[in-house]
Every structure is written in C-alpha cells, then in structure tokens.
C-alpha cells in the first residue's frame, strides 16, 4: 500500500493506506486521533468536521490521498496548549454540549465561519449544517455570537 505524508495538528505523519481510504479512518484507526467523530460517512451529518489548510472539510468523505502534503487540523489542535480557542471558551461559557459527540465538528465549523466573517449573521449561522441530535442549536448560535464579539 502507498504511504501518505501530511501534517496533523502541526505534527508530520505518514500513513500506509489505500488511496481511497477516507481520511477519517486514517486519523482514527491509524493515527489514534479520535476527536473527529463518525456520524454518517457521507458528509451529511458533519460530525467529523476538521480543517484542511485552514478551511472546513469532512474527513469522512475525503480520501487520504487528497490530504497528501497538506495540513490537517482536528479539534485536538485548536487550543494553544492549555489555552483554549475563543470559540471553545464560548462553548464552555454557554454550556453548549449535552452528549458532546457532535461538538468537535460544530466548533470546527464555527471557527471556519468566524475566519470567513468576523460578525456572522443569523443566516450565515443557519448555513452550518452540522447535526446536533441533542438539539443544542440555540446555545451553539449564542456561543458563536459570543465568540464573535470577543475575537
């Protein structure tokens, strides 16, 4: 099997995997990076949302061959050591998480949105499609607005 080299949260890694192996399984099963979650495998629930070269992507639907030579950031790479990213802080402030399973993806989607626009409208927040089966959407919205104010 071919080798693919890319960086995960600033660390260079090489995995031995078939070209079409979804990056989610390279991360979880080969590298032990378990922050990105499986929820659907077809890019509709968005639970695995992470960043590829700084932009939101869904590793469940991105073959590992496509991330060769690129920078993957997962939820584990968002904080600066013990210092949380402002979006993570906002999530704590609003006590957003219930079961927590979708929240790494929600947070990575929110960070990507705030990179694109510093003051997102309700319509822009509505465009985040990540499913939260616990239904914490209103608190997610409040947390994004709160983070936007502070950033």
């Amino acid at each position: 099997m071919p080798n693919y080299t890319f960086t995960v949260n600033g660390r260079e890694v090489t995995v031995d995997a078939p070209a079409d192996l979804p990056t989610l399984w390279a991360l979880r099963d080969k590298l032990g990076v378990t922050g990105p979650k499986y929820g659907c495998g077809i890019d509709v629930c968005k639970a695995c949302t992470s960043h590829l070269d700084g932009e939101a992507f869904n590793p469940c639907a991105t073959p590992v061959s496509e991330v060769e030579g690129r920078e993957v950031t997962t939820i584990e790479g968002l904080a600066d050591g013990d210092e949380l990213h402002p979006v993570q802080e906002a999530w704590l402030e609003q006590d957003v998480a219930q079961c927590g399973y979708c929240q790494p993806g929600q947070i990575m989607a929110a960070v990507a949105l705030l990179k694109r626009t510093s003051n997102p409208t309700d319509e822009e927040i509505d465009a985040i499609e990540n499913v939260c089966r616990c239904g914490s959407y209103f608190r997610i919205r409040e947390a994004i607005k709160s983070a936007a104010e502070k950033m």
Binding site: D29, A97, G100, Y101, I128, V131, G135, Y137, F138
Partner: protein
C-alpha cells in the same frame, strides 16, 4: 415515614465491607481517574427514607375559577407514576446503590449506577454530593458504574427517573459521611461537633483550627458505630444545589479529549462491521463470495452471526468496503412486504371504541397519526468486546447493563460473574441504549474470531435496523356543554413498543418477553403510569392498544406522551376555538393545579401571548405534566410557506419541583423543543417492504440550525414546597409538539393531523 437511624446505615456498611472491586483497566468515563489503593472510607449506605407517597388530595380535583367545570378524578399516573414504580422496584437494593469514597487527597469518588448520555446526571448528582458534603464540585468525580447485578431492578436509566430515584440515597450516603467526618474532626481537634463547620472540604473550628477531610478519612472510617446522627441538609440551606452549573465534562468535550466507546484505547481492539439484511430481522442463508471478500485490502476475518455477516478489518473504512462487497443470500425477516399503508390500516382497526357516544353538535371527533421516528443518536450503536474462554469484558453505552451482562453471559456460555460489563458514556440515546444489541453482537464476533472486537454500526444500519419510536394512530372524542368539557376520550393504537428490557435485569426482561401478557402488559403499565390528562375535562379515558409487529421499536424520549399528549394539546386548542375561548384562558381555567397554571402564565407573560402577528405567522401554546414536573411552551412560527415552516421563537417554563441544576434543566427543555420541531414538522421514517427507507440525516430530517429558532427563552421555576425533584429528561417534548401544531394551525388555517406535517420521500433511498 421517620428517617432511618444512622445506626442502620452503618450496620449495612459493616456487613458490606469493601466490595467495590478494583478500578477497571480502561477507565470508561473520562472522570474515572485511575485509583490507587487509598480508599479508607468506603460507605455502602443509603436507603432513602425520604420518598413520600404520591399526594392524592382535593387539590388535584380543585377546578380553577369556573364553577361550571366538571372535575376529573385522579388517573393512575396522578396517583402512582412510572417513576414511583421504578423507585419502589429499587427499594430492596437501595442500601447498595451508592458507594461513596472519601480519599486521602480530599477527593470524593461516587460511582453512578445510571447511564450518562448527555442529560447531565454526572453534573447534577455530583452537585448533590458536593452540597451535602460541603466539598468543592471539582473534588467529586463520578465514573459510571459497571453492571452490578446485585442492584436487580435498580440499574436502569429511563423514565426520567434518575434524579428522582437517586436524590434520597445520594443525600443519605453523603450525610452519613459528613457526620462521620465531623465526629472524627471533633476527636482530632478536641472541639465539640457543634462548634465545627465543614466548608470547601475543610473542617474549621474555633480559633481557626482546621482539618482537611482527606486527613480525617482514616479516623472517620475507624469510628465506633452507633454514636452519630446524620440528616441531610434542608433544601432551604442549599448553596450549590439550585444554582446554575455547567457540565463537569464540558472542557473534555470541547477539546476532543472526551472518550466515547470507540475512542477508548483498548489493546488489540480490531474494527468490525456487520452486513445486515434487506428487511428487518432477516437472517443469513448463504454467503456467496466469502473468499473474494477475505482477499480485500485490510480484511482479517468474515463470520456469520445471527443478525448478519461480520467483517473484521484493520480499519473501519476497510471493514465498510468489505461488508458492502459481500454477496449474501438472505432469509425472510419478520415484516417482509409490510409498508406504511398497511400499518396505518392495521392501526386504525386496532383503536378501541369510545365509551361515550357522539352527541351531534356538542362533539369534537379527531384522528391523528404519527410516523415512526428513529432515535438516531449521533454516536451509532457501538461496543468493544473481549471474549476469552475464561472470561469476557465488554464496553458499551448501556442503560440496562445488568440484563446486558446476563444475556451476553448466556450467549457466550460463561457464568455471569466472569463477564464484566463496563458502561461507557455515550453520544446520545433518547431511549435507544436501553437495548444492548451492539454489545451482544460484539461479543458474538469476538467469540467467533478469537479477537478483541470494536464494533461500529453504519449510520444507514443504525437508522434502518436500529431502534425507532413506533408509529401510532389516535382517535379523540370530546363532548362538551356551552362553555366546558363533559368528556374527553383518547384511543391510542400503536405498533408495539419493545419493552423487553424489562426493568433492566433478566427476570422482568423474561416476563416482558412472554408470548401471553408479556410485552403488552409492560406497555400497558407504562402507558397508564405516564399518560394523564392535566385538565378537569369531566369523564376522561385514555386507552392504549398495540399491534404486535416484530419491528425494532423502543421507548423514544417521552415514550407515549409525545404523540398522545401532543395530539391532545392540539385538540384543546380546537375545543377552545369552538367554545369561543382564548387558548391560554381556557387552559388556565381547566388545569387541575396551581403550579400548572403558574408555568402557563409564565410563558404567556414572557412570550407576549396574544401579540398581533403578520399573515402566515402565529403563536401557539401548550402544556404538559409528567414525572411530578410540568411545563408550558409558547412558540412563534413562520408558516408563510406551509410546506416549509420555521419555528422562529420559543418561550418555555418548567417546574421541576426542586430544581437541582437549572442550567442542565434548560438544556433538557431545549432538547425537547428541538425533538418536537423535528418530529412535528419533518422528521420521520417511511416503512416500505419491511424496512425504513431513510438511511441518514440527509433523509431523516432531524432539525438543523436552519430549522431552529433564533430566539429561545427558558425559565426554570423556583423550588416549590413539595421538596423533591421531578423528572426532566423527557418533559419538554409533548408541550412543544402541541405548541408547534397549534401555531401551525393558526398560521395556515390547516388543522394538523398527520405527523410529521411535511413528509415526502424527497430522496433516493440507499440500496438495501
């Protein structure tokens, strides 16, 4: 009932010394720090004597303000609800329920004999411990207890009953511990107990003499028995309980550190997935290309199990490809050929007749139906199993771990005591994890392959072969006089809701599985002890009949009430309209209790009830009482396009008796609202030829951010004088269903009768 003397608790402790066992090799909950052998004070105490009998008094009969109302007598659920029954079933083992350990470093470890799935128990129960012991919340850590068969009926998470059933035992255990610590401090500091204060984990006496509780734990454990008195604090003295607290595990969740079942680092655990049949409960006839599949990249093993064909591979991605590549000939399932139209016809035929004849103009008759709804927790069904000839260990999210342990032991042919079942905090449940099918499959695959197996279900399988709320049909008949209701009857016909988990252990699970009585008896008891009409509507009858279709159903958040009470709240609006009354005024008059009226008045005030709305927009309101709690919900809807409505605003009030953590309770009500938005407007399963068509969130339209209101206000009512906390997890759904239905009707002029309201097959189903 008088409080049990402390001596009894201590006696229990003496006879049950140190049974807590060793810490598991892999801690299933994040907060389960690996412990050394520094447990000096281990109490096995509890025994709630604080449960009070359900109050049946004239206040439940008292009409509101209008003398014309016909009072309705208390119904079974008014007298003894499901939670009371579960608490009673747990009585014999209450003394074993809570194990509280105070460690030398001052930390307090309490294993939670319930399942945490996002509902916030590890926070709220830790708050009770911290309050009672006067230690910081951060000093309490609360791993989930593994299956403890000695607890019998007392390790089931459901019925919105966890706080209700733990409130007494947790406080009793902590109060005893506190009493002993103070006595030990008294001896060590030479200060009478009455002059000592315990705060922040430190005992402080006159002249600022101090002793941290960790330094007292050994002496406290060694104290002679029978000399102490201990009583839990009065709620009026609470400092922490009742104040809003954030989840104790929130930081781990937002950093990605939190470990769910498949994130656990269990040595040699190997991915496995199962190819499942094209119809529900189909079985394998033959595997036609096993050799080809075995030669696929990463594939390690292929084995047939009762529910399908398992593929073990190096990664889940490879297991998924390989299981999809399998060519399997299947035997029939249990509902082959069955589709929605026939199910609906069967349900209509199963609705039992009304007792009261129609009375012409003074009658309102209505029919409702609700589609199946997937539980669809974000974390699909998953488990890790390590089955060896001389013992087995399982890790999974389990709300009934005892029956899981018993059934798995039987399946793999080991004595129960050699099968350890670890309960792992999960990514949602909504009732789904009452069933242990994933854990059982993982054990079967592990036994068949001789490997440690980590099993994951695909989303498609989770939706099609996982659990769902059963579809139901409802007939309601109301007779009335000029200004009040004379009779209110509701006939519910439902596809059987699987209750074969019983009360969580093998005995009642077997009883619930019996062909005669069996599931229907359990279901009937659940219905009658949960569903009640909160209004004085004269003669009230609510009756369930189920059709025994063998499908994968199960209790779904608020079980029968979401549909049954949701439909009733829509009818209440229609009665009010027919009588020319305002829906809020009409309810206020007919509600049975003052606390019911209080939550409704709260949302009417805070939500600006009666505000003038533009065409296509409307408000809707509804009420629900259950689990000794009650709630009202007011929503605003934008239904300018009746095929694409959006709830834009919600105002909710909840009365939980004694609220433990208002912040967590708000979360529960918010979740209930989102469930109601989803299942009322768009989310359901179509059944076609023995299988749900929906296979992912692109097809089962659970609400997303764009379906969620941008303005939500939730109010938790202050503690009332009843003293005990009511149930919370499921309360929010029925009132929100009713409020959304009512708002939709007012905005569009269309009376909602079939749910979800907009339910086309707007997708290409995945292959079977």
């Amino acid at each position: 009932m008088a409080p049990r003397p402390l001596e009894d608790y201590l006696d229990m402790a003496r006879h049950s010394a140190e049974p807590t066992g060793s810490a598991p090799a892999v801690a299933p909950g994040l907060r389960d720090r690996v412990l050394g052998r520094r447990k000096f004070l281990t109490y096995l105490v509890a025994g709630s004597t604080l449960t009070v009998a359900a109050k049946v008094g004239f206040d439940t009969l008292a009409p509101g303000t209008a003398s014309a109302l016909v009072p309705s007598p208390p119904q079974p659920a008014d007298v003894t609800d499901l939670g009371d029954i579960l608490i009673m079933a747990g009585k014999p083992t209450e003394g074993l329920l809570i194990q509280l350990e105070i460690q030398e470093d001052g930390n307090v470890r309490v294993e939670l004999p319930r399942m945490e799935v996002g509902q916030g128990l590890t926070t709220s129960v830790a708050m009770l411990v911290a309050e009672e012991l006067d230690v910081p919340l951060s000093a309490v850590y609360m791993p989930l207890a593994p299956a403890r068969p000695e607890l019998l009926f007392n390790q089931l998470t459901g019925g919105s009953n966890s706080i209700r059933s733990l409130f007494g035992p947790v406080r009793a255990a902590a109060a005893v511990a506190r009493g002993r610590l103070l006595a030990a401090a008294s001896e060590q500091l030479r200060v009478p107990v009455g002059d000592l204060q315990l705060a922040d984990g430190v005992v402080v006496g006159p002249s600022d003499v101090r002793a941290a509780i960790g330094t007292l734990t050994g002496a406290a454990a060694a104290l002679p028995l029978g000399e102490l008195t201990a009583a839990p604090k009065k709620p009026s003295d609470y400092k922490l309980v009742g104040s809003p607290v954030s989840r104790v595990d929130a930081r781990a969740m937002v950093t990605g550190e939190f470990k769910y079942t498949l994130d656990l680092d269990i040595p040699d655990a190997t991915p496995a997935m199962v190819r499942r049949p094209p119809t529900i409960n189909g079985t394998v006839d033959s595997v036609n290309n096993e050799k080809d599949v075995r030669s696929m990249p990463g594939v390690i093993d292929v084995v047939v199990i009762p529910s399908g064909v398992a593929v073990v591979a190096e990664t889940f991605g490879q297991a998924l490809d390989a299981k999809d590549a399998l060519d399997v000939t299947w035997k029939k399932g249990t509902v082959d050929g069955l589709s929605d139209a026939e199910i609906k016809e069967q349900l209509r035929g199963a609705a039992l007749p009304f007792a009261v004849p129609a009375a012409g103009e003074l009658t309102i008759d209505a029919e409702f139906d609700f589609a199946f709804a997937s539980h669809a927790p974000m974390e699909t069904n998953s488990a890790v199993a390590d089955v060896r000839p001389d013992g087995a260990e399982i890790w999974s999210g389990l709300k009934s771990p005892i029956v899981a342990q018993q059934a798995i032991a039987k399946e793999i042919g080991l004595p129960e005591n050699l099968v350890k079942v670890n309960v792992v905090q999960s990514g949602g449940s909504f009732g789904r994890r009452l069933f242990f099918d994933g854990a059982l499959e993982a054990a079967q695959i592990s036994k068949a392959t001789g490997r440690v197996i980590k099993l994951m279900w695909t989303r498609v399988d989770d939706m099609r072969h996982g659990r769902a709320r059963a579809g139901s049909f409802h007939r309601v008949r109301v007779t009335h006089a000029a200004d009040h209701v004379l009779s209110f009857e509701h006939r519910v016909a439902s596809v059987e809701t699987d209750t074969k988990h019983g009360l969580g252990e093998i005995l009642t699970a077997t009883a619930a599985s019996l062909p005669v009585g069996g599931n229907m008896s359990f279901a009937q008891t659940m219905f009658l002890t949960t569903v009640k009409c909160p209004y004085n509507f004269g003669a009230v009858t609510q009756v369930l009949n189920e059709i025994p279709l063998d499908m994968h159903t199960g209790s779904w958040r608020s079980v029968y009430s979401a549909n049954t009470r949701g439909a009733e709240e829509i009818i209440v609006d229609e009665i009010a309209a027919k009588l020319g009354r305002d829906p809020v005024e009409f309810r206020l008059e007919a509600l049975k209790e003052d606390r019911y009226r209080a939550v409704l008045e709260k949302v009417a005030d805070e939500g600006g009830w009666g505000a003038k709305m533009d065409k296509g927009f409307a408000q809707g309101v509804a009420f629900h009482a259950e689990y000794k709690s009650c709630t009202a919900c007011l929503v605003e809807i934008d239904a300018r396009d009746p095929q694409d409505p959006r709830v834009t605003k919600a105002v909710i009030a909840g009365d939980f008796g004694l609220p433990i953590n208002p912040r967590g309770l708000e979360s529960q009500l918010l979740g209930g609202l989102t469930d109601a938005i989803s299942t009322t407007l768009r989310a359901g399963l179509h059944i076609e030829d023995g299988l749900p068509l929906e296979g992912s969130y692109s097809q089962f339209h659970y609400a997303r951010q764009a379906d969620s209101p941008t303005d939500v206000k939730i109010f938790i009512m202050p503690a009332n004088d009843k003293g005990d906390p009511g149930g919370a997890g499921e309360l929010g759904v029925p009132a929100a269903v009713g409020a959304i239905g009512n708002a939709y009707a007012r905005a569009t002029g269309i009376a909602p009768r079939s749910f979800p309201i907009n339910f086309p097959v707007d997708f290409d189903p995945f292959p079977r």
